[in-house]
């Protein structure tokens, strides 16, 4: 989802597929199988470490970039109440980024390295944040759908085998529920409003529905046929970094979200959507994976804008970081004298 695991080009060997036959690797896998947590200084296979660094940092980058689409509406929030809520939510997302960078750093990578990978475009972040927020209803749609999908994905991550990541996710999950509820409440207000407000809500829903489903990443099994497949999914499952499949999570999201949409009087923009009494789930239509791939490789509506803004903010803050360091050094010297 926030870490759709797709930036690994086919044939990339930078994450070795482990041959789990060394004594250490066997012992490691036994610990994982016994549901033991792995902590920073423990022995771990290089692939495990690399997979985690990649996943946690992508997740962190997503939280940080994710502040932009919503930040876009802070100055135009319709009431002071909505403005305070939106500011708190955006601040939370920044905090989530920090928790996650902190977890990634326990694996022996520096914050600067990770930030640089984001700024030079070599690291990926979730495709969802490359869509624009055109109206106020988008703020409701994001909280309800995007944070809703995030929660679906993050709850199993709270049981991830790597201790610092699992603990960061527990912290994050506690905060996400507010995000989703404020979004749904915003939609609820629109659903009780004028015809124009209802139309604005439907329009936002139409634009966010499919991108939200894409957040769960490619199909786990039939992905190959579409030329896009969740990479290293199996290995991640075995290491208990990932605990539930993409398709399972997506189905769960559809099942809980459709009734919520109906309550708002919304029509799901999918002609194939239909309750299936036999399976006890909603059937839904095919996902446009071409759009997904396109957004991921940088051609989404806002990719360039998001990175540009992030870079500018980073550069504009450089003098503050340097001045603070210079001041700390001066003070330390004076104290030593």
């Amino acid at each position: 989802m926030y870490t759709q695991g797709l930036d690994i080009p086919k044939g990339d060997k930078s994450i070795p597929v482990e041959k789990a036959d060394s004594a250490e690797a066997l012992r490691f896998q036994a610990r994982i199988d016994a549901d033991e947590k792995i902590e920073p200084k423990d022995w771990m296979p290089e692939g495990y470490r690399k997979t985690l660094i990649r996943q946690i940092s992508q997740h962190a980058h997503s939280e940080v970039i994710g502040m932009q689409p919503e930040g876009n509406w802070i100055t135009r929030a319709p009431t002071l109440r909505r403005k305070a809520i939106l500011m708190a939510k955006v601040q939370d997302e920044g905090g989530h980024g920090l928790y996650l960078y902190s977890a990634a750093e326990t694996l022996g990578v520096s914050r600067d390295e990770l930030v640089e990978q984001l700024l030079d475009g070599s690291a990926k972040y979730s495709s969802i944040f490359n869509y624009p927020t055109l109206t106020w209803a988008d703020i409701g749609a994001i909280g309800w759908l995007v944070d809703g999908a995030a929660i679906m994905n993050q709850i199993p991550l709270c049981r991830c085998s790597y201790g610092p990541y699992a603990r960061a996710m527990i912290r994050i999950c506690k905060e996400e529920s507010f995000h989703q509820r404020q979004g749904y409440e915003l939609m609820l207000a629109l659903s009780r409003g004028s015809a124009e407000q209802k139309a604005m809500m439907q329009d936002a829903f139409d634009r966010w529905w499919w991108p939200a489903l894409m957040m769960f990443g490619p199909h786990d099994t039939k992905g190959d046929a579409e030329g896009i497949k969740s990479q290293h999914s199996e290995q991640s499952m075995k290491w208990r970094i990932k605990r539930v499949s993409n398709d399972e999570l997506r189905q769960k999201f559809v099942d809980v979200t459709v009734p919520q949409a109906e309550y708002l009087g919304l029509k799901v923009p999918d002609p194939h959507l239909k309750w299936n009494a036999e399976t006890g789930h909603y059937d839904f239509g095919p996902i446009d994976w071409n759009e997904f791939k396109n957004v991921l490789i940088g051609n989404g509506p806002c990719n360039k804008k998001r990175l540009k803004m992030r870079r500018e903010a980073h550069e504009r803050g450089a003098w503050v970081r340097e001045a603070a360091m210079a001041y700390a050094a001066k003070k330390a010297k004076r104290n030593a004298a």
Binding site: S102, A103, A324, M325
Partner: protein, 95 residues
Amino acid sequence: MSRKEWPLYEVFIRSRNGLNHIHVGSVHAPDPKMALENARDAYTRRGEGVSIWVVASNAITASDPGEKESLFEPLAEKVYRHPTFYDIPDEVKNI
């Protein structure tokens, strides 16, 4: 861009009086005072704490997980350190 990264501080929070400070994560900051301020913003946005400690990460000395056995295993054999090691007749009360 400056390549000089702000140092890392580990953050410990006491959620309420009567409880120990517990490790919650880390922050980067140029000095301990700003580390405290950053920790407050990052880790206590919802009244998660009444007291914060920050400690420079490089000031922490940690035990090596590889030495887990030599450090902790001998204690597992000292069963006489636990009350259940001692058989006392049921008739004897309050012991």
